[in-house]
Symmetry: C2
Subunit: 122 residues, 2 copies
DNA sequence: TTCATATTACGATATATATCGAAATAAAGT
DNA sequence: ACTTTATTTCGATATATATCGTAATATGAA
C-alpha cells in the first residue's frame, strides 16, 4: 500500500524542495515578502538593498538563488535590474502545500486559512 | 514608506524561514508528505525508513530537524517513536504564504488554488 | 538479567551555503 | 572617450548541512 501518491510526481518533489529551500533563509524570505508587497511592479536591486540593508554581493547571490528556482524574474531597465516575483511558481508552491495539507485526509481545515486574511468570494 | 509590514513580526520571519528550510530538502519534504498522508495516526521511524529507504542515522537527523522546527511531533510507544505532523505549525506556514501571496495586492488569485483540490464551502 | 529490536548519538567527511570586500562589467550621461 | 552609477563576479573564509557506519541507549520479551 503506497501512502503517498497524489498528483505530485517524484521529480516535482525535488523541485518543490528546492523552492522551499530558496525561501528557507531569513534574507531571502524578506526579499520575497518585499517583492510581493511591490507586486506587480517589482523593485530594482538597489531598492531591495536600501530596504533590507544587505551587502551588494550578498544580495546578488540571494537573488541569483531565487532566480534559479524560478521564484523571481528579472529584466533589464537601462543600468537597473528590475526583479519581480514569478507568480506561476509561487502558485505551484502554494497549491502543493494547500493540497498536501487540506486535501486527502484534511490535516488542516481550509476555512481557518481564509479566516486569517482573505474572505472567500465564492 | 515601508513596503512590507502586515501582520508578520520580524522575529516571525526568521522562524518561518527556518520552517521553509526544514521542508527545503527532498528527503525531508518526502517525510512530511508521508506523515501528512498518514495523518492523524502518523508513523513510527521504522515505517518511514522502510517507505523512503533512508539510512537510520540520516533519517534520525532529518526527523530531529523537523521536530526542532515544530513541524513534527513525537511520542513514545514502547520501543517505537511515533511521529505526526504538527498541524498548528503547518497551518501557520500555509497561512503566511497564503496571506503574502493572496492578500494585499493579490499576486495570486485564491480561486485558482481551490480549483486544484478543495471546493470552497463558504 | 540477558537478548532482541527500535531508535538515537557519535565521529567523521564531503559538500553546500552565507557572507564579505574588492575588482570587473554594463549602461548612461557628459 | 571618460565618468558615474548599478550590478555582478571573484576570491576567500567561516559555518552549516547531508550523509554514512558504528556504537550507545532504551524498551520489551524470554
Amino acid at each position: 500500500m503506497k501512502l503517498v501518491e497524489a498528483g505530485t510526481k517524484t521529480a516535482d518533489v525535488a523541485k518543490l524542495a528546492d523552492m522551499f529551500a530558496a525561501m528557507g533563509t531569513e534574507p531571502r524570505l524578506r526579499i520575497m515578502r518585499l517583492l510581493l508587497s511591490a507586486h506587480p511592479e517589482g523593485l530594482v536591486v538597489g531598492e531591495i538593498q536600501d530596504e533590507l540593508g544587505i551587502t551588494g554581493s550578498t544580495l546578488s547571490h540571494h537573488l541569483e538563488k531565487l532566480r534559479h528556482e524560478d521564484l523571481v524574474d528579472v529584466r533589464r531597465e537601462g543600468t537597473f535590474m528590475r526583479h519581480t516575483v514569478n507568480t506561476d511558481s509561487l502558485r505551484a508552491l502554494l497549491t502543493f502545500l494547500y493540497s498536501e495539507c487540506c486535501g486527502r485526509n484534511k490535516a488542516i481545515d481550509p476555512e481557518l486559512l481564509m479566516a486569517t486574511g482573505q474572505r472567500c468570494k465564492c
